[in-house]
Symmetry: D2
Subunit: 314 residues, 4 copies
């Protein structure tokens, strides 16, 4: 049976009919109407109605950034949507007569990778999404880990460096401050103004204006062999692998799936991660090393995962 | 139905008949015969035979320090027993005609707390055993987490401080080097020789010989109000709570159960842990704070947990 | 004999006639004409001419932010004035027929404290100026330490935390990122948004807008007993004392003079510094502890020190 | 005029007549008589008498490990000699009728390098002695820096890593724990047991017994191209350069002279130090980079420096 996945993003709402193989067979989108809960819900309902005109579906899964309650019906806190305790599943269910579940968007994307993507042969997987920030999703023994309150998977805020870089969360040294697109750009700009010859070509590429450096510029430069850009990606990858080693000590996954915009750097990011991981993994030599793979399900991952998770319970 | 739990320790083997409420209804013990696998297995078989004379049991669970294979039949690596790939479940099963499973001892003890101890009302629990070293066990959504290779729960080797204290595992800055009995004693001895007036009474208590300071001495001194000893336990508790905050970011448990010898300090250890945890937890204010509780099942925890895990599968 | 001290700041140029006891007997000021070297020099010459109408002087000392050459005649690099290799002493000397020397402004202020302020009885002094940034000046065995290239005293950029907070200098973990007005405000704002109850009153004081918190607000709140503000100053003081302990290991001064805007917090800053210093000082118990004192010569310190240094060589 | 230098070491006392060019023209030695102050002083007196039989000298300089008072007459604290407030200059002077001064042995060796060795063309020099521990000596503007109490130059106990490796001084993260022969050996042994393939050849070289690895073994392996040994020296050199960058921020020397046993690795140690130094130096691009050079005066450095310092004041 097909199901619908909805991905509520900061600028657009994407909805799609997803089959049991994780294929999107139809889709539509709406502009996200600011942060007004009612308007967003109406847009979701409207998109679902449109998709149901041509497709029979069993359930609707909604993915959104933020903390989702353990009952999978409520968005407890969403920084970018300004929502608090939004009972979105009840509201939407009442208007479409289909079972609805809510999932954290990183969890939904991770589930898509686990079911249909890079981790489809694994039973224990961690997904690390290196985008502007750092997202995480955990599947252990074939089950998505949500935690007692629905807050599990926030790998971004593992402590990496006591007394390290301040994080937007109000604490210091979070992993996200060392492994994210934001961290990459900040490091690139800082290095560019430091008079180290290694970073002079990158500064030149930015027309001499360090503040013009962005993530794609670093990745492209690295792909063209720029030594400074390669060093920046290697540093990011180092911390990614270093953090992954801590996660392996605790959770012992088979595979780390790396997604998000920065993962487009591929092995320029993943090879340094693998090296740091191997060096920092406890009891290496007595255990297999987890694999590192780039995510495969692409931009639709949130939709696909949300739809699949909804179908399972319908 | 009753089952037998066996706890293979470095100096003794403890075995007991455990009922469905986690009570030990009979027990026996043997001296651990060095690190010889055959002799240890014979001692286990012998103890099981003795217990079965008066009790009908359905299964045998064996707990041991070390990495246990995901199939729960093999000890892949045990530092203190010098075992590698020891197929202990097969060997013992062949001689007693009962189903046998092997578990990591920290996992077994954690399971006992989850089923019959401080976490019996929880569905998501992390156990941290602060003994000579630091042990860990994870129960998520009611299930013991073993990981893809059986190596999950090694919280001791999460990275805490890049470039921090060297660990016996060959890497730097592991949590265990900051939160364990060994860490407590090392800190106490170092402070005692540093001429800080705060630690002078502790040094005096040790007869002026810093190397005579041990863990119980610090705990007793703290219980009697010694400011230096209290500061040492507070520092240990700080890192315990700090590490717990990272674990909560990833796993979102309801409760941390703290066991091991150092947990006898009770709130002198746990209050600083709670403070650091609350300060370092991401999104606090939007989520409940996990509880910290001292373990309750005592020295028999390993036996009880191993027995219960064996019964479940029998 | 009297001499003239000139302090070239980002917004104004202050010049004064200073007697041999460090008293300013006459003064004048000019608006700093942007970052144009010629205009600034003309303003300096003009101010000197005005002061000489009524006072006989032997020499002119010019203090400015930036790296001053070891010959004390050239500003090698000044970030806020956009100067590179500015031969300011030659230029000004050619127009006023008096000997001119240039000094780093922090060095000049430190010298004023050494000769006429909090360190006048000491022979080995370190000054730490905790303003927006962190400045430093060293007097060892009665002599101002300038270094081989004139760059000594940059305590701001000692490494404090490997992998710590990024610094404007393009490197990570500089002391200035932990001990400066900027660090204080950044910490205050981060804590204010973290939902820690301790910092709620400070957020309320800022009208609920964390970005409205500034340094004086924190200091005033602390002086009124606000626990969060006290904790913030204590943390700043901790790192000040911690950094001072490293400096004492290397230089063994008798006194640390603490100046700059944040020093108006007095013992609320200095007591935590003293505690951390005593705890972190090597071989304490076998040596005296250096004193910590607030600077006394006030806003005119740069002028007074520059004048006195110029007189010495005239 | 010639003078005598005496170097009191833990196992032997070396004494020599040194000419004005820093050449040892005659020498003798005594076994160090345990830690008995009187016996040691008698041995010093005896050695001086022997040397004076054939040489006319103006003064005697005594170098010893430990904290030497600012008056250069007293050893305030010497860990390995168990001395406290030993008035050694007075005692010896009373028996030989020559002016006597006492110097810290690292200061004496540093002075020898400044006057006759690798830094003889410099006016601002820092010496870093990487032996079992880490020693330091500072010469600024041609003068040996002793500090207000005679304790300057203890670079070993600058803080490098907050919460880092415990140090014998009772505090954490001292530079010495990262840059010394002890640090090298500790890292080598830890890496050797960590199952990282990189370090397998080094473990093999030690016959499979990690505890058999010592400093010379690492250096020899590196000189023969062993990648693991090279990595270990590179890590040590990294921290040496990193610490040197902090020292340059504060003191701006022209040259770092690196001595001690580990300096026999030459550029295998110094090149990584230069790289880290260049990367971590504030305002690089606006200032010259200090040179790094291996010490030249050899084992007699302590004698030569003590003799020269004594002659200067005689």
């Amino acid at each position: 049976m097909h199901s619908i996945g909805v991905d509520i993003g900061g600028t657009k709402i994407a909805a799609g009919v997803v089959d049991e193989e994780g294929r999107i067979v139809a889709s539509t989108r709406r502009v996200t109407p600011a942060t007004d809960q009612d308007l967003i819900q109406s847009a979701v309902v409207d998109a679902v109605h449109e998709l149901r005109e041509d497709h029979e579906v069993a359930a609707v899964g909604i993915g959104a950034a933020g903390f989702v309650g353990a009952d999978r019906r409520t968005i407890v806190f969403a920084a970018n949507l300004a929502w608090r305790d939004a009972a979105i599943a009840d509201e939407v269910e009442g208007r479409i007569d289909l079972p609805v579940v809510v999932e954290n968007d990183a969890n939904a994307a991770g589930w898509a990778e686990f079911r249909f993507g890079a981790a489809q042969d694994a039973s224990d997987m961690l997904m690390l999404t290196v985008g502007t920030g750092l997202g995480g999703a955990l599947v252990l023994d074939g089950r998505l880990v949500r935690g007692s309150g629905g807050f599990a998977g926030e790998v971004a805020h593992m402590n990496l460096v006591p007394e390290g870089q301040w994080c937007g969360c109000g604490r210091r040294g979070c992993l996200e401050q060392y492994t994210s697109g934001t961290a990459l750009v900040r490091a690139a700009r800082a290095r560019a103004v430091s008079s180290e010859p290694l970073y002079a070509p990158l500064l030149e590429r930015a027309g001499g204006d360090a503040s013009a450096i962005d993530g794609p510029m670093v990745t492209h430069a690295a792909q063209e062999g720029d030594e400074g850009a390669l060093a920046l990606l290697a540093e990011l990858g180092h911390w990614l692998g270093y953090g992954a080693a801590s996660l392996s000590a605790v959770l012992d996954p088979e595979i780390f799936v790396v997604g998000g915009g920065v993962s487009s750097a591929g092995d320029l990011l993943l090879d340094p991660a693998r090296t740091a991981y191997a060096s920092e993994l406890v009891a290496r030599g007595h255990r297999p090393l987890a694999r590192f793979a780039v995510a495969r399900t692409g931009n639709g991952a949130g939709m696909i995962g949300a739809a699949d998770l909804a179908r399972q319970d319908a």
